[in-house]
């Protein structure tokens, strides 16, 4: 009897409208009209057949309106309803949908719905998701449902089908479910014991609190968000080079852990930079806007790339927060939802103020970036530096401009040889990012008593210097040639002359010192290797010390950046350092020609190498000439002229040396501290246009910032709406979409599927909610509780609906295969990251460290190499060693064009597009990965080692192991199976000790050598089995 009733119900679900049920436009009719009619009779005014729209009733073009006496729909009158006549017409030329739409005829069930809807009065409703959210009162509590509001809604729906909530899952199973869901890691046997032992009421709630407070919670919840916003560690297009934006990833983790309210979470990501006096973390959050796919492909066309970047931002923001398929309106008005093409580009206009340039320059840190110091004092210093440097740079440029204005033009460069002198230090020395922390005791003096070799000041060094002193050329790279002579002037104190002085070239190569005076003065090692250049020059006057880099061991053609001075005892004045350079070709000399200079840096700028220039300049260097805009060309030219160009050095020294130490300090921080891509707003945004037919080269009417008119109005604080206004609009309580979309995503995460099963489409073409009232209640509750995410998660996991047993009876499976009714607990395969982390945790290998640069764990050879561009810095995968192999998967380096196989095999997205819900495939490739991937197998071996070191009894070990993976005690049958399995492998490896040795040698960590080898190998196979159990791979 029961079966019979359930079979009837099955039909009801399949064709959802029972005969007696009244027809709802939103639930029953809209999906049919949307899918079959709206493309030509919907919101797209540009493509509306017969001036008829069927998404609306009462406008002149609406379904009720009369056209020459014909009305598409006449409520309660099928005969007069043209729509009805058309869908049942047997004639091809009348039939709707028409043949050329390639839509099949409506199915009988669909026709029946339309029929009954018209008969019942053809009542239209506004699309449910665009209606304001009211908080409906939860239905009355049913006896078995308890008082939890979620359960009252769920039970109410179940009751209409004579069903009820299932019994609660066994406690161990529930604990594993909850622990995996909230932290992405399995519970330990100790945690299971503690939970089972806690007989007092509220035990479950206490576990929820413990897990919500765990830092693992934030890591786990961040993952879903990072999928949504397509976070990755490479640019995604063409070279797919490294992009450094991981501090944003860490910000997301922290935001979940400190329970940043979701509205604030939203505002800081979209527009943290526009908040008053934004903190560093609020700037880091704006990395959201920088997660776009980007390119610097040589032939790419700027307008096209710019349009794509903006579209990527609009489409992602619309999908993630609003559940709108906005991109449908890029070429024409949206055909299903009321978003016009104009409104699409108005949304885009809001992002047109972002300062980052269209190209990524193939560098890891295209501006704007933030340096993340980690401590407030240093952070403040970094801010101060920026503030101090800007005016000094301005002064320097102004001075150089005045030189030009005064008639001192730049040299005309030819291919002919040239000899010239360049002075690095006249009245002060230059500090480079490397020497930044190593300032010696020497001091520049000026005044009538100071002897100078040039300029107005000289450097006094007294006594032996603990650290050498540097005369550097700033960031000028000098090329060693036999005809290049470097020099410095020395004036030994007549009263207390040094015992010796030495000069050394600063170079990556191993060089020899030149020593003047007592060769033994710097110790025997140096004496053995140094070149004795001569006696100490006579004190009391300047001597020019000259030396050639090639003589010191810098190979011809290699680079050096200056001289390192050492002095033994005594006192001396040092002054006027530089070089006399003979170049074979003036126009190829980087110190004279900006083009030659830029050429030498172009490739290195793209590499991940440390280049002693600031990121903004490095960026310009990374661009091809055609990619640089006028401003960038000028910046490059000015930089070369002001900082490098030899003929100007002497006259610009004061201004250059004023800014250089600060710049060096700034570059030093950029090179040594984490940096991350952030957002900043241009003073004047780029113009936004409607792009005709979505073509990048057909800009139409110009538009300003705006949002779709069918949603509440966008309020702007200033004259023009900004990203901050948009962010506030998104999380305004009256916005009908954000809360619905967000609670649905959390529901989906915990229940395996959303109440709306199309999480990125809440529009007309999306699925309607399975529990509309529940969705609205949850959305309203989320807003009412201040967008408190932890509170919301707590609300869901404490429901009986969540805690149900997952057993699916055959009847229920037939009735409701995808568990839309929630008459049983959710059961689904764990995500890629959780599978790997779980194995590492069970093996005791998992490293607890939170955050930091991405790591490169095991990856089979030949994943990156066969696909990557020859010049890409992610061409070759170099695996990390040690602890980095065992970090949580969240920290695995994400290369968009070839993500880790351990991820994509298990449905992780490529992070090329927003992804608000992963698929869950079930493939043989997954089986192979779980059985054979070294990460999994090493974890099994380490797991076995833990068991062997624990106790000596097989039964105890097996029970403990089984409990570790499933959280429950094995049944009798399972115990027998476990023992049999162990016996099989034991007998095999006792006979094959060499194979057993090999088993233990898998993976980089060393197996415990004190354990008996065959036994260890046999247990490894047992744990390999346990890590592959269906029950282990699922949260049950």
């Amino acid at each position: 009897m029961l079966l019979h009733r359930l079979l009837v119900l099955a039909v009801i679900i399949a064709a959802p409208v029972a005969a007696q049920e009244s027809i709802s436009f939103n639930t029953h009719v809209r999906p049919i009209l949307s899918d079959n009619c709206f493309a030509c009779h919907g919101t797209d005014a540009g493509h509306r057949e017969g001036k008829l729209r069927l998404d609306i009733a009462d406008t002149p073009e609406g379904a009720y309106a009369s056209r020459d006496g014909v009305r598409a729909i006449v409520p309660r009158d099928l005969e007069k309803s043209e729509l009805w006549q058309r869908i049942i017409s047997p004639h091809d030329d009348e039939m709707m949908p028409p043949a050329e739409s390639h839509k099949p005829r409506l199915k009988p069930g669909e026709i029946d719905v339309i029929k009954r809807w018209i008969e019942q009065g053809a009542v239209y409703q506004r699309h449910w998701a665009f209606e304001p959210i009211a908080q409906p009162a939860p239905p009355k509590a049913k006896s078995r449902s308890g008082t939890h509001p979620v359960d009252r809604f769920v039970s109410d729906t179940l009751a209409t089908r004579k069903l009820q909530l299932a019994a609660e899952a066994p406690r161990e199973v529930l604990l594993r479910r909850l622990t995996l869901d909230l932290t992405g890691l399995p519970p330990t046997p100790d945690e299971i014991d503690a939970f089972l032992a806690d007989k007092k009421s509220g035990a479950y709630e206490r576990v929820v609190e413990r897990l919500l407070a765990s830092p693992r919670y934030g890591e786990h919840f961040a993952r879903g968000w990072l999928d949504a916003v397509r976070y990755a560690d490479t640019h995604g297009l063409h070279l797919d080079n490294i992009r450094t934006i991981w501090p944003y990833r860490d910000w997301v983790v922290q935001a979940f852990n400190r329970n940043l309210p979701f509205d604030q979470f939203t505002i800081e990501q979209l527009a943290g930079d526009l908040l008053p006096n934004p903190r560093i973390d609020q700037l880091v959050a704006t990395g959201y806007n920088r997660n776009i796919l980007s390119t610097s492909e040589g032939g790419a066309i700027e307008a096209e790339a710019e349009m794509r970047n903006t579209a990527d931002r609009v489409d992602t923001t619309a999908a993630v927060w609003l559940g709108l398929t906005a991109n449908c309106a890029a070429c024409h008005d949206h055909k299903f939802d009321p978003i016009t093409q104009r409104e699409y580009y108005e949304l885009g206009a809001i992002f047109k103020g972002l300062e980052d340039r269209v190209w990524d320059g193939n560098i890891r840190n295209p501006a704007p970036i933030a340096i993340v110091a980690g401590d407030p004092e240093k952070q403040q210093r970094i801010d101060e530096l920026s503030a101090m440097i800007a005016p000094l740079e301005h002064t320097l440029t102004t001075k150089a401009d005045s030189l030009i204005a005064g008639g001192k033009g730049l040299m005309k460069l030819t291919k002919k040889p040239i000899t010239y002198e360049v002075v690095w230090a006249e009245d002060s020395d230059l500090i480079t990012p490397e020497t930044f922390n190593a300032r010696p005791a020497g001091k520049w003096h000026r005044g009538p008593t100071v002897p100078v070799a040039g300029g107005e000041a000289a450097l006094r060094l007294e006594g032996s210097q603990a650290r050498p002193f540097f005369f550097t050329a700033g960031d000028v790279v000098l090329t060693a040639r036999t005809e290049v002579r470097s020099f410095v002037h020395l004036y030994s104190d007549p009263v207390d002359p040094p015992r010796a002085v030495s000069l050394e070239f600063i170079s990556d190569q191993k060089t020899r010192r030149f020593v003047w005076g007592d060769l033994a003065a710097f110790g025997p090692d140096i004496a053995a290797a140094a070149i004795h250049a001569g006696p100490l020059p006579a004190p009391g006057g300047y001597t020019r010390l000259e030396l050639i880099a090639c003589d010191a061991g810098v190979d011809e053609g290699k680079n050096y950046t200056g001289l390192r001075i050492a002095q033994s005892n005594g006192a001396a004045w040092w002054d006027r350092a530089g070089a006399v350079i003979t170049s074979p070709s003036a126009s190829d000399d980087p110190i004279l020609s900006k083009d030659a200079w830029a050429r030498t840096y172009r490739t290195t700028a793209r590499d991940d190498s440390e280049l002693p220039v600031r990121h903004d300049l490095r960026y310009v260097l990374g661009l091809s000439g055609t990619q640089q805009n006028d401003k960038e060309k000028k910046r490059l030219a000015n930089y070369h002229r002001d900082h490098i160009y030899a003929p100007f050095r002497a006259e610009l020294e004061k201004e250059l040396h004023a800014v250089r130490p600060l710049l060096s300090e700034q570059i030093h921080y950029e090179l040594t501290l984490p940096t991350t891509l952030i957002s900043r707003e241009l003073a004047e945004p780029l113009p936004a246009h409607i792009m005709v037919r979505g073509q990048y080269d057909e800009p139409g009417e110009r538009v300003g910032p705006g949002t779709p008119a069918f949603l509440p109005p966008l309020r702007s604080a200033g004259a023009k709406a900004t990203r901050l206004d948009l962010a506030r609009w998104i999380v305004a309580p009256e916005n009908p979409l954000t809360a619905r979309v967000t609670v649905n995503r959390f529901w989906q995460q915990l229940f395996g599927a959303g109440l709306v099963r199309t999480p990125s489409d809440f529009g007309s073409q999306g699925d309607p909610p399975t529990h509309p009232a529940l969705l609205d209640w949850l959305a309203a509750e989320f807003v009412r509780t201040g967008w408190d995410v932890k509170q919301f998660v707590r609300l869901l996991v404490t429901s009986r609906a969540y805690r149900q047993d997952a057993y699916a009876s055959p009847e229920l499976l037939e009735l409701d295969p995808s568990n839309q009714l929630l008459a049983r607990g959710p059961r689904f395969r764990l995500d890629a990251e959780v599978l790997r982390d779980q194995a590492l945790a069970l093996g005791g290998l998992l490293q607890p460290e939170i955050g930091g640069p991405p790591v490169r764990p095991y990856q089979p050879a030949g994943i990156w190499e066969p696909v990557a561009f020859g010049g890409s810095n992610t061409k070759t995968y170099v695996q990390d060693q040690g602890d980095a192999l065992y970090r949580r998967s969240l920290y695995t380096f994400w290369k968009r064009t070839a993500p880790a196989p351990a991820m994509v095999t298990f449905d992780a997205p490529s992070r090329e597009n927003f992804c608000v819900g992963r698929g869950r495939s079930n493939t043989p490739l997954q089986a192979l990965a779980l059985m054979n991937d070294v990460q999994q197998f090493e974890a099994a071996r380490a797991f076995a080692e833990r068991l062997l070191l624990r106790t000596s009894s097989d039964s105890d070990r097996l029970a403990y192991a089984f409990r570790s993976v499933t959280a429950r005690v094995p049944t009798k049958a399972e115990q027998v199976l476990l023992h049999d399995t162990l016996a099989t492998h034991r007998s095999h490896y006792l006979k094959n000790t060499e194979a057993a040795q090999q088993v233990l040698a898998n993976g980089e960590s060393k197996a415990n050598s004190t354990l008996p080898v065959p036994e260890f190998a046999a247990w490894t196979m047992v744990t390999n089995l346990l890590l592959n159990l269906d029950e282990t791979l699922n949260r049950n």
């Binding site: 192979l928 197998f937 492998h985």
Partner: protein, 494 residues
């Protein structure tokens, strides 16, 4: 004894197919509903021997196909049509003359050459001759391909929307420049399923190529499933120790041990199924068994030792070099022989902005003989009749020289407005040349074929009406051929 074969032999039909059938029933997501029907309701087929783990969608193919499988030879980087198939003898007289504005018509060009002061015409340095009964013109860069011209149809009038590699490759393979759409192979796997229960339906090969300064990149999105279920993603068969990722057991684990572990696993998982009654558990049991079968079937697939001397001679010496393009061609034949639905070979290095004569020669040395041997081999085995072979880059190259033009050297920039593609077998007319470009191979003057047209044609050969082949994603009926009208190029079909 091979434990894998033992195991399969020992499986009763009932066990095996009940498992597979229930597995299908179990994956009860909406997208699988039509598949269920095709699998015969509950999936327990009347004739167990013909049961397929991955059957086609209900109603597929739409009509009798002329091709059951496809081999797609992608020449990544953009081969020059001017130096291979699109013979323009008149250009010799125009050496170093400026490309007439009447030809360029202000069309966009990439930013690599948009700054050039001149667009000097660079006639091909290669000699063309007519070959075969058809008299198809082919340059002497392709002596081996010249021998099969009567089996192939050269389409000289293909055009694309994208002008740079990344979007052009994405467009070629997924029908859209924007990442995120499903690839051609994934569409076919989804629609037509697999006729081999031991190998993936869609296999990708990325052979070695002779080194160039900077070869363009490939992207996994070129074979990924996009919005389709990920099980339809292409599986890259690698020339490394593990042809399929994680195929090999860990060191110290032999097939017997793996079998023993799987026997235990299956028992545990059946208990789990009893506990939760989740159909996915049965699917998982079946997938572990397929994984085990792949451990045998894949090494057997990649082992060429059974190939006759005559066959190896047909392919030439490079076939013995693992991971070469030629070896990939033989592997492709072995794959289609096993009824693998889609084989995609992506050969890189064709992006000659400079030094084209020399580097294109090297590219052709890599690939020419393999293409010839593949067609000849398929033909001699009767496989060419129902196997479609396609040879295509993502775009063509410009008639004008990028950088310096000399009597012996030139480069060519990207040219999306026309390029040459050839197809063979599976319903394609051999010995045909279709479409025509102007005297500069710059614009198409007759019978243009868009990439959407090309894809519509490929689908047609495989028995699919491209307009009826859609998947709902993001509120839209997504199609490989997009929303603009596309046409099956029936003129090149038998």
């Amino acid at each position: 004894m091979n434990p894998a074969h033992d195991y399969i032999n020992n499986l009763t039909r009932r066990q095996f197919f009940a498992g597979a059938g229930l597995a299908m029933g179990g994956v009860a997501l909406n997208w699988l509903a039509p598949r269920l029907q095709a699998a015969g309701g509950t999936g327990v087929g009347a004739d167990a021997l013909n049961a397929r783990i991955h059957p086609p969608l209900a109603g597929f193919p739409h009509f009798a196909p002329t091709a059951k499988r496809i081999i797609y030879l992608h020449m990544n980087g953009g081969p020059s049509q001017l130096d291979t198939f699109d013979y323009k003898p008149q250009l010799q007289e125009r050496f170093d003359q400026d490309l007439p504005d009447s030809i360029r018509q202000g069309q966009r060009i990439t930013t690599m050459t948009s700054g050039q002061a001149r667009f000097p015409v660079a006639p091909s340095l290669f000699n063309f001759a007519q070959h075969g009964q058809s008299g198809t013109w082919v340059s002497d860069l392709l002596p081996w391909t010249s021998k099969i011209v009567d089996d192939i149809a050269v389409v000289r009038s293909v055009h694309t929307n994208a002008i740079n590699h990344d979007p052009a490759c994405t467009f070629l393979m997924t029908g859209s420049e924007i990442p995120g759409k499903a690839s051609l192979g994934s569409w076919l796997s989804y629609g037509l399923g697999s006729e081999n229960n031991d190998l993936p339906a869609f296999v990708v090969l990325t052979p070695k190529f002779s080194p160039k300064v900077a070869a363009q990149a490939l992207f996994t999105r070129m074979w990924s499933s996009g919005f389709l279920p990920t099980s339809h993603s292409g599986v890259a068969l690698r020339a490394q120790t593990d042809p399929v990722l994680f195929l090999e057991n860990p060191n110290g684990v032999d097939p017997t041990t793996r079998r023993a572990m799987l026997d235990s696993l299956s028992k545990f998982n059946h208990l789990t199924h009893a506990r939760h009654n989740d159909p996915e558990t049965l699917t998982r049991i079946a997938q572990y068994e397929m994984a085990f079968r792949m451990q045998t079937s894949v090494p057997e697939l990649t082992d060429f030792s059974g190939e006759s001397e005559a066959t190896l001679d047909l392919y030439g010496p490079e076939v013995k070099e693992s991971g070469s393009f030629t070896a990939s061609c033989l592997l492709a034949r072995r794959l289609v022989e096993r009824n693998v639905r889609v084989v995609q070979i992506l050969h890189r290095g064709w992006d000659q902005h400079g030094n084209l004569p020399n580097d294109h020669r090297i590219q052709c040395l890599d690939t020419d003989r393999g293409c010839y041997a593949l067609i000849a081999d398929l033909k001699q085995r009767g496989l060419l009749d129902d196997t479609l072979v396609v040879w295509a880059g993502e775009f063509g190259r410009t008639v004008y020289s990028q950088g310096a033009l000399t009597k012996t050297n030139y480069g060519r920039d990207h040219h999306p407005r026309c390029f040459s593609v050839w197809m063979a077998g599976g319903g394609v007319k051999g010995g045909l040349v279709y479409g025509e470009t102007d005297d500069f191979s710059y614009n198409i003057i007759r019978d243009p074929v868009s990439l959407h047209d090309l894809n519509a044609t490929l689908l047609h050969c495989l028995g699919i009406d491209h307009q009826k082949f859609s998947f709902k994603s993001q509120g839209l009926d997504q199609r490989l051929t997009g929303v603009e009208p596309a046409r099956v190029v029936k003129e090149i079909l038998t």
